[in-house]
Point group: C2
Chain length 409, copies 2
């Protein structure tokens, strides 16, 4: 395994931070959310799998560019169901995940497993589920990252006929949910078929996640490599259409030694950069979750103030309906009052139109009055627990220093 | 001078072939053209300057990318009026041409010189002519190629305000007439300003002539070079919009030794390719002229048959006008008759509508009957003179072998 080796500590840290997040969510934030019906207004309750899901790296490319070999190289071992070969080999979407016991879990079982983030995939039907498996391996790297290997993209009819499901739609589902998309090319087959183009167009909405790998680059000399690389950039620029240049990592990512020495130094630097990028995923994914939880907690707080204010504004006997209408129409006055009293910036408030719409069908008298205890718990969570979890995360600089130089071969 | 040096022979060959073409044109083809009023129907008489014009290489790019330094490097000496510097320096279009005596000829004098191909430039007016000069140098390289240095493209207002003429239109004129366009970039200033984009759009119609030079490439290491080069291809692909990837030559094209050694081998290969490309221009330009003359001669032959047939079909006394109308309307019958009798493929005949249009206003009785002597002269030219001139040209392979390895620094 070319990296991560000496960085055992961080893996635990992230697991601990994520565990911590799950805990403070269910103990401190969830009660407030439930008390003020947060899930009906804003977003559904977080599940364990929302916390547990590891950063996911999706590999996409034409057949035979070396997607499966790339994963094998990083894992430094075979995974169950692995097939590598010059003809189109991988015929399924394979989620490669950590598990002490190993083995293959078929798609139909995967989409009913609450601990895995694949439940929505059931909508793609059996034709897809028969082509979707989870390959479980006990591998250190997989403790922090999940890889998704995909069937190589074929040109022409084959792509359409052979599959019984909508490849593009499945690809899009994974692209939306993953943290990184590695789009692989190999120096001997650069041309972008219509089918590959269509796949890239599907990925484009997540273009910030895309990194390009120009693989098998050690089979040609420096000048030829420049030509090939230039041709790739020439057409990618047009297909991706973003003004920002997509980062391309040039190298040969498999377990065999380099054929030619001429570009060794370059390939080493490129591999280091690419691994550095992948290595940062657990950190950034954890940070993102932490950040999302803070945002959610602040919203839940404001939401509690709004709901209790509405409750407390209701008359106890007559004119309930009229008062309700009045409150909905003048919801901005409620907002302003809370803004003043609680000193919460207006920007933290939920969109007024959306609140008005949902409130339309609700009985305000059933809302809860202000529960200071619940609020204090969340305040404490934001003031104490979150900073504690944050401080567990290694600083970016620290993480980079801890990470080891890549080892090749 | 990095190339051409040992290839003195070819230069003369091309000069001789061109001389030969001019001679056979005026002695053997021109009389037939004149006899049958070819110039009124097809294209005007060829001038000496049409033959004499050397292949022209146009240099275009943002200011300070090293256009002038590039030319200086190839010439291995300064040319009159040369200015090199980090600020915008070249402020005129400079045609750098061979001349035994050297010196600078101002634009106003250039556009009235019948031996130079610049006469049509007078239409751009004085503001341009004051910014157009010919820099004459006695330099071997210039005996086979003319360079045109251009003012660097500036970003924003400067580009528009400072010039009193339409830069784009002038650029287009040169792009249409030149044989090669070198579009220079330098590794430290890649971004394509709106003005540069506009210039590239002007060149796009001649995209087959464009070659890109990524200059000053020895100031960065291989990985940085890949990034820069990739970014250039990324945006160029979009700006040029052709599916074919434009050839980019990476290197440092000036008289100083390389700063870093890491990419030396690459730069040497790239320079060799670029110089090979430029070196082929005299050959391809000569071949093109030869080819054009053959096409012209074949057309002139057919034209002579048509005109004499029309003449001979006219009645000697009555019904001239009616016959003329009849002939014009049934011109295809005339074509078919000549096709049969002379065994000339129909594809060699001029467009029938255009002929009909021009014939409308002509007195057929004044046309010349068939002059076998004139025709024989042209036939002989095609059968003997042209092959003789052709055989003087070195074969492409031969020329490449004769060309020397580039010498650097
Ligand atoms: N870096 C490399 N250099 C040279 N050959 C390689 C490299 N990586 C993989 N290969 C070879 O390329 C072929 C295809 O590899 P692999 O099966 O990993 O590609 P794939 O992209 O997963 O293909 P598919 O889409 O069909 O699953 C195999 O023969 C493999 O040995
Ligand atoms: N290959 C090179 N490597 C590094 N520096 C260079 C190179 N070529 C030229 N320069 C430097 O770049 C600067 C600009 O060069 P030059 O005047 O030739 O550019 P230019 O494109 O002709 O500019 P302008 O458009 O203003 O005429 C000068 O200082 C020159 O010495
Ligand atoms: Mg595979
Ligand atoms: Mg200049």
């Amino acid at each position: 395994m070319p990296f991560w080796k000496k960085d055992n500590s961080n893996k635990e840290v992230y697991t601990n931070v994520i565990q911590g997040l799950r805990q403070i969510y269910s103990q401190k934030l969830l009660p407030l959310e439930e008390a003020y019906r947060f899930h009906e207004f804003h977003s559904s309750q977080l599940e364990d799998s929302d916390f547990a899901a590891k950063p996911m790296v999706l590999l996409v490319g034409q057949y035979s560019v070396g997607k499966t070999s790339f994963i094998r190289y990083l894992l430094n071992e075979d995974f169950p169901g692995i097939r590598i070969g010059p003809e189109p080999t991988t015929d399924s979407f394979i989620a490669i995940m950590h598990n002490e016991h190993g083995g293959v879990v078929p798609g139909n079982a995967l989409v009913v497993d609450p601990t895995k983030p694949f439940r929505p995939l059931s909508k793609f039907g059996n034709a897809f589920l028969n082509r979707f498996v989870c390959s479980q391996v006990r591998n250190e790297l997989l403790e922090t990252i999940t890889f998704v290997d995909t069937p190589g993209i074929l040109a022409g009819e084959k792509q359409r006929v052979d599959r019984g499901y909508e490849f593009s739609q499945v690809l899009e589902w994974f692209a939306d949910r993953c943290d990184r998309i590695l789009l692989l090319f190999d120096v001997s087959s650069l041309d972008i078929s219509d089918e590959l183009k269509r796949a890239i167009e599907v990925l484009r909405r997540n273009d910030d996640k895309i990194r390009i790998v120009l693989n098998k680059a050690d089979s040609i000399d420096q000048q030829a490599l420049m030509r090939v690389y230039g041709a790739l950039m020439w057409s990618l620029g047009k297909v991706l259409g973003t003004p920002e240049v997509c980062r391309v990592y040039v190298g040969s990512f498999w377990s065999k030694p380099l054929q030619y020495d001429s570009n060794r130094r370059l390939f080493e630097l490129e591999a280091k950069d690419l691994f550095g990028d992948l290595e940062s995923l657990p950190r950034t994914a954890t940070l993102r979750k932490l950040n999302d939880l803070i945002k959610r907690a602040r919203l839940a707080r404001v939401h509690a103030f709004i709901m209790s204010e509405l409750k407390e504004s209701m008359p106890s006997v007559f004119g309930k309906d009229q008062k309700r209408r009045e409150l909905i129409n003048n919801l901005h006055l409620v907002y302003e009052k809370i803004e003043r009293q609680q000193n919460i910036p207006l920007g933290d408030f939920p969109k007024i139109e959306r609140m008005q719409e949902i409130l339309q069908n609700m009985d305000f008298t059933k809302f809860k009055p202000l529960d200071k205890k619940l609020l204090e718990r969340v305040d404490k969570m934001l003031a104490e627990d979150v900073p504690r979890l944050m401080s567990m995360l290694p600083r970016e600089e620290l993480a980079y220093m801890n990470s080891t130089q890549p080892e090749f071969g």
